[in-house]
Symmetry: C2
């Protein structure tokens, strides 16, 4: 997730660093890595990335949000490598059984979503905070508001001039663009219980490991089908859906039929093809 | 190492399985994996490979020869993944401080070489066993040797016919092709002490992390320069040398000058370019 040129990495499978190089992603800008769960395809690339940062002389703290076991995996491998990293890691152990706020800065919040999978797993929601209103400067051309006045107006206050003239807030501001949200659900069984967390997401990524005819297999493996993902997007009133995490049984040529299965239920579906960029 | 269509894997860096797919290496034929040491670039791809074998329903035992710590790394990650592999792993912990025979079948032997590196490290030598002589059938055209006679002749015995005629072994056999050997030295500081292990190797792979002008850096990091590798090949009377493991500071365009530095000392040097095949 690229938010104002700070990068947030969601999961880190084997060879993620090679892929980031291939797609010219400036991975030195990553300060926060979120790992959904400890199946290999979701985290095996993290050690290589940690060692690469070490070799590159990284200085900034790297924050890792993951199952507590990942800390053991990382510490054991650093210990056995005989080196100590030249930069600090701050590890944030996740409680996968509930939804909690795990990150906040002045612009965004990240919360977890309890997924339903074979091992403890969390999805993640990125929410922009409520933005301040924009001031229509021309409506205050006769006045000379202070810095504090501007801040108060942006938060919704009316402006009262030194001579007592009242400018109602609605007359001197325009509403900010709506706050956006992105939900990442991987890996999980379909369940209505997820809807409350991801309601009204502007963009929902949901795994769709199997085609609709493999619903039994999906239940057995605690994964979604193409239809499960689409149903989740529909019930949650998402604006757009990205499906991915397709089983290795599907060749590139099969992906269009997977897409169509989702689109039949939720037309605004796209495929998570490697290297794709989704703007929000 | 491909020996009669059985594959032996030496080290397994991140994305090794992707590279094996790219170069059409039938990695289901690998039954033995040898890991030199626990720096990430030498082993971080093994977990992904183990999980892939699991997904592919492997049945055969996989033998892993490595530092004891790798067993902990593997077991921890299997445990946290919540799955148990569908095939057995037999782990062979290495004693990096000495040379020992760690593998033998009817055709080859694999021994370790104690390397000199920042953490415990072993190189490996693959040696073909002494082959049996080939029988010149036409020289025994008047006789009717038994199966046992043939075996004895191939091992060097004369043949004595039922009527007492002696066929000296040299007259009825030709020598087998010489037994071949391949030595793999990575990662290590240059040292004369390595020579006795790798003497007369038909093919020597030696790391050459740095160019000759970076000898100080090489010593500091316990690595070889291009000249170190060439000197090792020369003193050990190797037939051919492959150099590789070049520092990331070198671009592809620099490799030819690295090669020339080695060739100045040991002319029969080649570069370990990804995807290259060296026949022996």
């Amino acid at each position: 997730v690229n938010f104002q040129d700070e990068l947030f990495l969601l999961d880190c499978g084997e060879a993620t660093q090679m892929q980031m190089r291939k797609y010219n992603i400036k991975f030195q800008r990553i300060n926060h890595i979120f790992i959904t769960h400890l199946h290999g395809d979701h985290y095996l690339g993290i050690m290589g990335l940690l060692f690469t940062y070490h070799l590159l002389g990284r200085e900034k703290t790297l924050h890792i949000y993951a199952s507590p076991g990942l800390r053991d995996i990382i510490n054991l491998q650093i210990h056995l490598s005989g080196c100590s990293l030249v930069y600090p890691i701050q590890f944030h152990p996740l409680n996968h059984s509930l939804s909690e706020k795990i990150f906040e800065n002045d612009k965004i919040i990240v919360e977890t979503i309890p997924m339903i999978h074979r091992i403890p797993t969390s999805g993640f929601i990125f929410r922009e905070k409520q933005k301040l209103k924009n001031i229509r400067i021309e409506a205050l051309a006769d006045e000379n508001p202070s810095h504090d006045d501007f801040e108060n107006i942006r938060r919704g206050a009316d402006f009262i001039s030194p001579n007592g003239k009242i400018y109602p807030n609605d007359d001197i501001t325009v509403n900010p663009p709506p706050s956006r949200s992105f939900s990442h659900c991987s890996d999980t069984l379909f369940s209505d219980s997820l809807v409350k967390y991801i309601k009204n997401s502007d963009l929902l990524y949901c795994e769709a490991t199997f085609s609709k005819d493999k619903a039994d297999k999906a239940s057995e493996k605690f994964h979604c089908t193409t239809e499960d993902a689409a149903m989740l997007a529909k019930i949650a009133d998402a604006r757009r859906l990205i499906i991915g995490h397709f089983s290795a049984r599907y060749e590139d040529i099969d992906l269009n039929s997977l897409l169509l299965e989702s689109k039949n239920i939720f037309p605004n579906t796209e495929l998570a093809i490697e290297g794709s960029v989704f703007n929000l």
